[in-house]
């Protein structure tokens, strides 16, 4: 299975409703924006409730994995950056334009800069995963000649990533907008 990096873990095993959510809410306050929390729970109802709570409180519910009776829930704390900043990278492509382009051009690189947990629960087949926070030190691994389509959830992190790659000498960098939140093409993941 793919490795899921998390910033924080919360053990709510053995706790009955409402405690898993009460504890998650508290932990979420401490968590940095954009960071990922993993919540371990045994209460079966916690999945639907965490999902609904995340939606209503603006956090991002990524998914749940069940392993020998334990539910592992992944949530990402909402990040202000994504809702406020205006995108600055000049070259963009829409989701709709990217789908046929990927079918034709198998040389194109899709670079997914979301957190590994977000990537794990659903990404474009063949997309390279380098989370935004690790991009600067890892961008040397990418081919400078290739067309790179940078994608995140809503187009904000990918905008920052595209700017950063351009600064580092990449010339054919395109930001995908809006990104995975409205992606209708093929997806693979857990």
């Amino acid at each position: 299975m793919e490795n899921i990096n998390v910033n924080q873990r919360l053990d709510a095993k053995g706790l009955a409703c409402p405690m898993p959510i009460v504890k998650t809410k508290k932990a979420m306050k401490e968590l940095e924006s954009g960071h990922i929390i993993e919540i371990l729970a045994t209460d079966k109802g916690s999945k639907a409730d965490l999902k609904a709570w995340a939606n209503s409180s603006g956090h991002q519910y990524l998914g749940t994995i069940e392993e020998s009776g334990v539910l592992k829930h992944y949530l990402r704390k909402s990040s202000n950056v994504e809702t406020k900043n205006e995108n600055k990278h000049p070259h963009t492509i829409s989701n709709e334009e990217l789908i046929p382009l990927l079918e034709k051009n198998n040389q194109a690189v899709v670079l997914d800069v979301r957190e590994s947990a977000e990537y794990a629960f659903g990404h474009i087949p063949g997309a390279v995963s380098i989370p935004m926070g690790e991009l600067e030190k890892n961008c040397g691994n990418l081919n400078k000649e290739a067309e790179i389509y940078v994608i995140c959830r809503t187009g904000s992190r990918s905008d920052l990533a595209a700017q950063m790659l351009t600064k580092n000498g990449f010339e054919k960098v395109v930001n995908v907008v809006p990104g995975m939140s409205e992606w209708t093409g093929k997806v693979e993941g857990i």
Binding site: C17, P18, I21, G45, A48, A52, W53
Partner: protein
């Protein structure tokens, strides 16, 4: 103010009495939309408990003054939390003990009538799920029909009536709830009867329930006659008890008829369904009291909480019995059907003995409303 636990049995009484009750359901919206406690004079507010973690001030004005308020959640923990918060604000509330889990598992016995020689017929109304099961008692012996998985309730009830359970029947292989029939038979040494056409894949021994079988309970005093009536499943069998009651299983309900699609064979079985309803039942006495295995809506309950109506009345009023055109009938029962019951495939496999899920899983599988009918 102290908060008060309310038992599922108390809520059941409120449903039967058509009492007024305000239900504050603190489960998430999807669960509430899918399934809730139904009562003719109940009113509702659904606010998930996780919206109330910071306080209940926002909902105070939405709570009615002078009405009983019951806080409900899935298992009770969250409803206690919310009830405590409301209580601190000086509002008098109860919470549902055991939550919707307890509600789903509660059976309310209702006496339908007396049989020959002091015999009695009881209907067990599972309000939370719309399931109906039956116990006929005569001369120290009992028969159970379409039992739910809460087997203790039947065992204790028979004991309280000094009756030994001798026969256990399932009218068909159920797809919406887990049958307790086999376990009751094992616990009591009773015979377990199943229609063989529904039991081709079962992993245990059973008695073949076929058209025209006669079973007597308590010596010679009570007679149960079986009547093959396929359509909901290919094996579906009805019972006539003492020429007075017609137990229809999932073929005919009070305000709807059975659906033929839960085993994936709607096209094959629709003709059988038509034949059972429009010919076999038509030849029976209109005075028979129909006792189905389900109800869909709370309006189908009689004033005493029972679900029962004369066959003649159903032939007049039940829309599903009044579709003269066969093509139209075929269309209605095979197209635009309601969603299939939660986990119906796994429930069928459990009832065949192919899988044996633990109790928590069984509970999960049965979650949600009943969906065995076509209106």
């Amino acid at each position: 103010m102290a908060i008060r636990p309310m038992k599922a049995s108390e809520v059941a009484k409120q449903v039967f009495n058509k009492a007024e009750l305000f239900i504050l359901d603190v489960r998430n919206e999807d669960d509430f939309q899918d399934w809730k406690i139904e009562g003719s004079n109940f009113s509702y507010l659904n606010i998930p408990y996780f919206e109330l973690l910071d306080g209940v001030d926002e909902i105070l004005e939405k709570l009615p003054a002078g009405k009983d308020i019951l806080v409900v959640c899935a298992k009770e923990g969250s409803s206690i939390m919310v009830a405590d918060m409301l209580s601190e604000k000086g509002i008098d509330v109860s919470y549902l003990e055991g939550g919707m889990k307890a509600w789903s598992e509660h059976l309310e016995p209702v006496k339908l009538g007396n049989l020959t020689d002091g015999g009695e017929l009881y209907q067990f109304v599972r309000l939370g799920k719309g399931c109906l099961s039956y116990m006929a008692i005569s001369n120290g012996e009992a028969a159970v029909i379409d039992a739910t998985r809460m087997t203790d309730i039947y065992l204790k009830f028979a004991e309280s009536k000094d009756a030994k359970i001798k026969h256990v029947f399932d009218t068909h292989l159920h797809a919406d709830h887990i049958s307790g029939g086999r376990l009751i038979a094992e616990a009591t040494g009773a015979a377990y009867w199943l229609p063989p056409k529904d039991a081709e894949e079962v992993t245990f021994a059973y008695n073949r329930l076929e058209d025209g079988n006669e079973v007597t309970i308590g010596g010679t005093s009570m007679n149960i006659h079986s009547l093959y009536s396929p359509g909901h499943t290919i094996g579906s069998t009805s019972f006539v008890i003492e020429d007075s009651y017609l137990l229809t299983g999932d073929i005919l309900f009070i305000d709807s008829i059975g659906r033929p699609d839960l085993a994936g064979l709607a096209e094959d079985w629709v003709g059988d369904l038509r034949e059972s309803l429009y010919n076999r039942y038509k030849n029976l006495s209109n005075e028979l009291i129909v006792l189905p295995a389900h109800f869909m809506m709370i309006d189908e309950l009689n004033n005493d909480g029972s679900v029962a109506e004369k066959l003649g009345v159903l032939f007049e009023k039940n829309h599903g019995l009044n579709i003269e055109n066969e093509a139209e009938f075929r269309k209605i029962v095979t197209e635009n059907l309601p969603p299939q019951p939660n986990a119906f495939k796994e429930i069928r496999e459990t009832n065949m003995g192919k899988i044996t899920p633990d109790e928590v899983t069984q509970r999960e599988m049965e979650i949600g409303p009943n969906r065995c009918a076509v209106r």
